[in-house]
Symmetry: C2
Subunit: 521 residues, 2 copies
């Protein structure tokens, strides 16, 4: 089902229930762009280390907006031996909720936007009806603002004056004396009179409002309720009301309830992510590193400096992740699956030796039709990802004696695939290992070459023409990794370049060492 | 009328005709945001110099996208003493048009997006059907790409090999020899055979395609046409056809025509801006500095480093500009117009002493209804701006003897308002003067104060409490301009601060001098 700002609040219990009852969850995100820095192929260089890849994605991909989030929950129905799924497609947008809320800036990449536009993506739904969100720091700040206000109002003091300031007269600057004098006169009138219970002051500046609050607290510590409201013209003005103690308390409580609701609304979609996190359920995604990074960045906290800290944060937020692209690229699947892109994978897993999974959508939830593709709606992609996971998990059951046709998410058979996120286009490190150090394959056949901007791939082929087969991975305009087929040629190549002026060749090991030295310096 | 990618080409002649016949043009732009840096009030500090303001807008406002452009043309009809207007509302989006086209990244500011969403702005129209554009540098590059290709193909050589390289054999690297060998065999078959006229090669890498082109040019300089095409799966492959000279020429011409059309499509909306510029007509806008900066930035060139160069570029692109906000803030209007915001100005100018202008929309063009507001569609805002200009211009006619009720755009009476762009919220410099140096009012009652981050406006009031009325203009968290009512107090304030540790006061003149020294260093 589609969830926007209009139906978010009423849908939330359904979302919570779906997460609660599920055996596993599948997620997918759509973003406003991929890379605001290097070209995508330079962003994903074949010889990136996991640390380098993390740093590049953090630097060049986090200013985009995750504006559609797909969640599909899967619950196994033992009676009918099938999964029951509930799919949600959330539209997300950081709508500012009040004057002091963060005014988020995000980047759009025209190729990504154009791609989504061609898929029939509804941008109006995002921008006009997207659900807002706060990360944990923003939520904390907002909560604090409210709490400080609540406390101070309960004690009839304002947040920004020290606790005993109400005992000392307010220091009203010369040019404000007349203004404050007029307000005091009006309040005296109000207190003397019988008919009127409230007094609307003229709109004024924030500084003047502060002076009014201070003056009222000092001169009339009891019997008055002072409140700032916004007019239709967006001007802020103060209403002063005569109240007895009971009425004052009631007004206070009303305000507290209103503010709690405002807070909940502002936290918005992050509550869904909190629920996923708190459930500690298995979360499945396809090629999900960027999805995980965006989700943490947007709804939890700024991404940490170092990859190691990122791994810690991620395992706290999502204790069990499974990446279907990594799974499909690993044995026993690797040999029988040629193309691991989501659409192709889903098709492949319908045929032998795999079995298409039995999945029905829950009552009251729309079903997706996998024969008429709707790829690139996040909810649909999450659904397909879940299907792929089920097929592959069940396939593992065929190796048991006796074979089992259903493998549950808690089976030891799928343990080896947990918490390994697919690393796109890295030659020799298939995944980011969230549970410990990453693989460190030898790269003793790899050279780092720097050269003039004018060089093309053909110049590199020419340079290494004596060494047979080579493979070029561009880093930027003036450098590339070149891998040779024979590691023992590496030293020869480095030696022959010793006196070259226009280019420079070093071993991968030397390159890494220099880079680390530079980082320290 | 609404113009999108779907009807742009067929609408262009109408747009050109409207510009051609008009007496003056009114424009307005909608952007994806205003400031990606300081808050809007810090972006428009009251004591900015024109140079500082230009630098801030350039730095903090140009990464947004101008995605809707309103153009309203006005032509005076002497017979009926009324204006005939044609209004166009263009949707604009940098859709990438081929593999090598720039992949534009632009920033969105959630408050601006939310504002437009509330006005019913159609983002889908922008992103799905926006008209593309190129600035002059991008256009030049694309044209060059095509021209190089055309020439080289005409002469049967490729762009990236030197003119005589076709006389020397191609240097095919070892690992590509087999691949190229197979291609040559297939071509020999093609040339020998009678039945087949074309040969589709398998998809291959760009480097391999280059080798194929080079090899073909060298081995078969005549009688073959080699072309790269893209399959439905977006894979690029080469088609080789046997051709006689006539057929080859015809194919070449077809390709030239196709490429010229591609180029025109890519230049897209910029052609409208070129037409406006070439017409040298009076262009009217309301508070138009940002519109002008965005227009030049997006459709002409990167904004120059210095304000002076910007003025030169602007007067080249738009020789006559008139800002209705500046006009309304200048005598004789200043005294009779309280609120110069566009909507309020339009209302005010319907009443005495002004006369609502007589304007009808041209046949076949939809008319706007100013009583049911549609503000913030760019085409409507441009229309309203034009109305305001006409009313104010005609009002100037009432000072003539005998009074005139219609004042044309070429009248000397409006000359004083040309090429002065309103400077928002600057205290003492009403406009940016495009035709020469800017006003340099004395600022000898202004102080620059720096202080700890914790300070609030009230701390500044307190600090200056001895000096009567002050005015605070925040620069950032730790500095502000404070203006005193009496210039002779300035030196006293500076002196008393001499031994202060937490804060620092300097005169405006000293502040400017230090800043210039720092800029030089
Ligand atoms: N000097 C030079 N740099 C190149 C060349 N090809 C690629 N690069 C650089 O390497 C980066 C990645 O290139 P590539 O892998 O071909 O991907 P692409 O930019 O997406 O086509 C580019 O952004 C360039 O900075 C080349 O022929 N010469
Ligand atoms: N330290 C401090 N800085 C302030 C205060 N008020 C404003 N500023 C700074 O001045 C900038 C402009 O402030 P202001 O003119 O009030 O506009 P606003 O930020 O849009 O509300 C802000 O972005 C802050 O960096 C204050 O009370 N204390």
């Amino acid at each position: 089902m589609e969830v926007t700002r209009s139906n978010f609040k009423e849908s939330l219990p359904k979302v919570y229930a779906a997460i609660e009852e599920a055996d596993f969850l599948a997620i997918d995100g759509e973003f406003s762009g991929i890379s605001d820095g290097p070209s995508v192929s330079a962003l994903t260089n074949g010889w990136d280390t996991p640390e380098e890849r993390y740093q590049k994605l953090k630097k060049h991909s986090m200013d985009f907006l995750l504006f559609q989030f797909g969640l599909c929950t899967f619950k196994y129905d033992h009676t009918d031996s099938r999964y029951i799924m509930k799919s949600f497609n959330f539209y997300i947008f950081p709508k500012p909720f009040n004057r002091s809320s963060p005014d988020v800036k995000f980047v759009c990449q025209s190729s990504s936007i154009d791609f989504l536009a061609n898929q029939g993506f509804d941008f109006n739904k995002v921008f006009c009806k997207g659900i807002p969100y706060l990360n944990q720091e923003e939520e904390r700040q907002l909560r604090e603002q409210y709490e400080v206000r609540l406390q101070s109002n309960g004690a009839s003091t304002m947040s920004y004056i020290s606790p005993n300031s109400q005992k000392t007269p307010v220091n009203v600057p010369e040019d404000q004396k007349q203004f404050i004098g007029t307000v005091i006169e009006k309040v005296e009138d109000l207190l003397r009179g019988e008919e009127k219970k409230t007094l609307d002051l003229e709109p004024c500046t924030g500084y003047q409002r502060k002076l009014i609050y201070q003056t009222m607290n000092w001169k009339y510590p009891k019997g008055l309720h002072v409140e700032t409201v916004e007019s239709e013209k967006k001007e802020r003005y103060i209403i002063i009301s005569k109240v007895d103690e009971d009425e004052r308390k009631r007004k206070e409580q009303q305000r507290q309830a209103r503010e709690q609701e405002e807070l909940d609304n502002a936290v918005g979609f992050s509550r869904v992510i909190h629920a996923i996190s708190n459930s500690a359920k298995l979360v499945v995604g396809h090629n999900m590193l960027l999805d995980v990074m965006h989700t943490i960045h947007q709804f939890f906290c700024q991404l940490p400096e170092e990859l190691n800290e990122f791994k810690e944060v991620t395992t706290c937020v999502f204790p069990r992740l499974l990446d279907t692209k990594l799974m499909a690229s690993t044995q026993p699947f690797k040999d029988i699956i040629n193309n691991t892109s989501l659409a192709e994978l889903e098709k492949r897993l319908k045929d032998a030796p795999f079995n298409p999974p039995k999945v029905v959508s829950a009552e009251g939830f729309p079903s997706y039709d996998t024969s008429s593709e709707q790829l690139h709606e996040a909810g649909y992609d999450a659904y397909i990802t879940g299907l792929c996971f089920i097929s592959m998990a069940n396939f593992l059951g065929s190796f048991l004696t006796p074979p089992k046709s259903h493998i549950s998410c808690t089976s030891k058979l799928i343990g080896p695939f947990f918490n390994k996120l697919f690393l796109m286009r890295v030659m020799d490190i298939p995944y980011l290992n969230l549970e410990g150090p990453d693989l460190q394959p030898k790269r003793d056949h790899v050279l780092h070459v720097s050269f003039p901007r004018e060089w093309k791939t053909s110049d590199l082929y020419q340079l290494f023409s004596a060494f047979g087969n080579i493979h070029v991975s561009w880093i930027d305009d003036t450098s590339a990794f070149v891998s040779l087929s024979q590691p023992d040629q590496v030293q020869i190549a480095v030696n022959t370049s010793q006196y070259a002026e226009s280019y420079r060749i070093q071993t991968y090991a030397d390159y890494v060492e220099k880079k680390q030295e530079e980082a320290k310096a």
